[in-house]
């Protein structure tokens, strides 16, 4: 099968990479672009560990062919923070000691970041709904909720 040229923007930079037509976006990110933050948990869109942003919206990158991202903007956990400083969500996750094994965390952070971008002051219910597509099997979600709530307080309000 001939490879195809995927050109898109990944974490703010234009990339051109040759990919097989049958690889997922997740595999292209991990294998071809060395962005191993997004993880393959289930491979069927049920666990959320592969969550990245496509044009600002959270998606399951295991359910998308790499070539479907052509001309679009992809952001992974590696591109969540600005240079030199953690994203407020990452900062809160570190301070509250949210991660245990850490496998689900990049996906949870990307889902939470998309939620806060759309709704900077979510209710507890909205936070639960926002990360409903992310499974954590180490523990529960209590610390995640606390950290996302705290990070929401640290973000500038919309329009501010």
């Amino acid at each position: 099968m001939p490879k195809q040229i995927l050109s898109c923007i990944v974490n703010g930079e234009t990339v051109e990479v040759l990919v097989q037509p049958y690889v997922t976006l997740l595999d292209a990110l991990r294998e071809d672009l060395d962005l191993t933050g997004p993880k393959e948990g289930c491979g069927t869109g049920d666990c959320g560990a592969c969550t990245v942003h496509l044009d600002g919206e959270p998606i399951a990158s295991c359910l998308m062919l790499a070539m479907q991202a052509r001309g679009r903007e992809v952001r992974t956990i590696e591109g969540l923070a600005g240079s030199g400083a953690l994203h407020p969500l990452q900062d809160a996750f570190v301070r509250l000691g949210v991660p245990q094994c850490g496998f689900c965390i990049p996906g949870v952070l990307m889902a939470a970041a998309a939620l806060l971008a759309e709704n900077p002051r979510p209710t507890q219910e909205q936070i639960r709904y926002g990360i409903a597509g992310n499974l954590c099997r180490c523990t529960g979600y209590t610390k995640m909720l606390a950290a996302i709530t705290e990070a929401a307080g640290a973000l500038p309000a919309r329009g501010a």
């Binding site: 099968m1 069927t44 869109g45 399951a60 359910l63 062919l65 409903a132 597509g133």
Partner: protein, 287 residues
């Protein structure tokens, strides 16, 4: 995933040509949330995949006064968020919000949901209740099929191997009309409907002028409950009328027993969800 050839058409005509040339070897890819898992586990082994993400025509959402036009590859998330869909085609917005997780809804499309034709497809009952029409393009041109006739069996539709569902057209329900979609699932998120019901009521001068009730996951295809609808039309929507309609809706259901629920439980759910959706539809219609 098994190897396949990927074609990237820029227009529907181009996509139709690929389907005509490759026949059943080719599979259309919209959101991929149903197709890719089936390809990963070997259930589907297409030699050729036709990606529709470069076809602008199937990605446009046009809420207009004369009706709603949804490109087949518009994601569920867009329907869930659109203010016109939420206010006027409420049951469709509600069903879209129930598909998978946010990560899945940003990919999963309305066209994909109906073309995969799972008996439990959440977005199908609202399309039946709102009397939506499928716009299909093939080598012989365009044809339109009401969604009441679109589904032909479990994972089967009227679509030929060389045809593409391009657009879903939903007529405006008109003033004093309201609807709701409800489903029952053991888990609140990321689950498949044990039963789903969409109802739509239109009122005039204190009476119901039009009632539409559609059921999911109680037969191989989504069903309209015609007798229940007729029992409501032409008179005020009283508690007794709703109860009678719920009872008649149960009579339409031909459920199976499986790990999600027994046939008896599903019949019970039809009654409960029909009653609840009719009450909400009545309120939303201003009754």
């Amino acid at each position: 995933m098994r190897r396949f050839e990927l074609t990237l058409p820029r227009s529907i005509d181009e996509a139709v040509r690929v389907l005509r040339d490759r026949g059943p070897d080719a599979k259309l890819l919209a959101g991929g949330t149903d197709l890719l898992p089936q390809m990963k586990n070997g259930l589907l082994k297409p030699a050729c995949v036709v990606d529709l993400s470069g076809v602008a025509q199937v990605r446009t959402l046009e809420p207009a006064a004369r009706g709603l036009r949804v490109g087949a590859a518009v994601p569920a998330r867009a329907l869930e968020r659109d203010t016109v869909v939420r206010s006027t085609y409420t049951s469709l917005a509600e069903s879209a919000a129930l598909v998978g997780s946010v990560q899945v809804r940003n990919l999963a499309t309305l066209g994909g949901n109906v073309c995969n034709a799972a008996p439990s497809a959440d977005m199908a009952p609202p399309l039946l209740a709102l009397e939506a029409v499928a716009v299909i393009i093939g080598p012989r041109g365009e044809r339109r099929v009401p969604f009441a006739d679109f589904f032909t069996g479990v994972r089967r539709t009227v679509l030929g191997a060389d045809e593409i569902l391009v657009e879903i057209v939903v007529p405006p329900p008109g003033p004093r009309s309201g609807g709701q979609y409800l489903r029952h699932t053991p888990r609140r998120e990321l689950d498949i409907a044990v039963v789903g019901v969409a109802s739509q009521l239109t009122l005039s001068n204190g009476a119901c002028t039009k009632a539409r009730i559609a059921l999911a996951a109680v037969a191989p295809v989504p069903l309209r409950a015609h007798e229940a609808e007729q029992a409501l039309e032409g008179k005020p929507v009283t508690a007794e009328a709703i109860e009678q309609a719920a009872e008649l809706a149960v009579g339409v259901a031909r459920p199976i027993s499986d790990q999600r629920g027994s046939a008896d439980y599903r019949r019970h759910l039809v009654r409960v969800l029909t009653r609840r959706t009719l009450r909400t539809a009545l309120t939303r219609a201003g009754g």
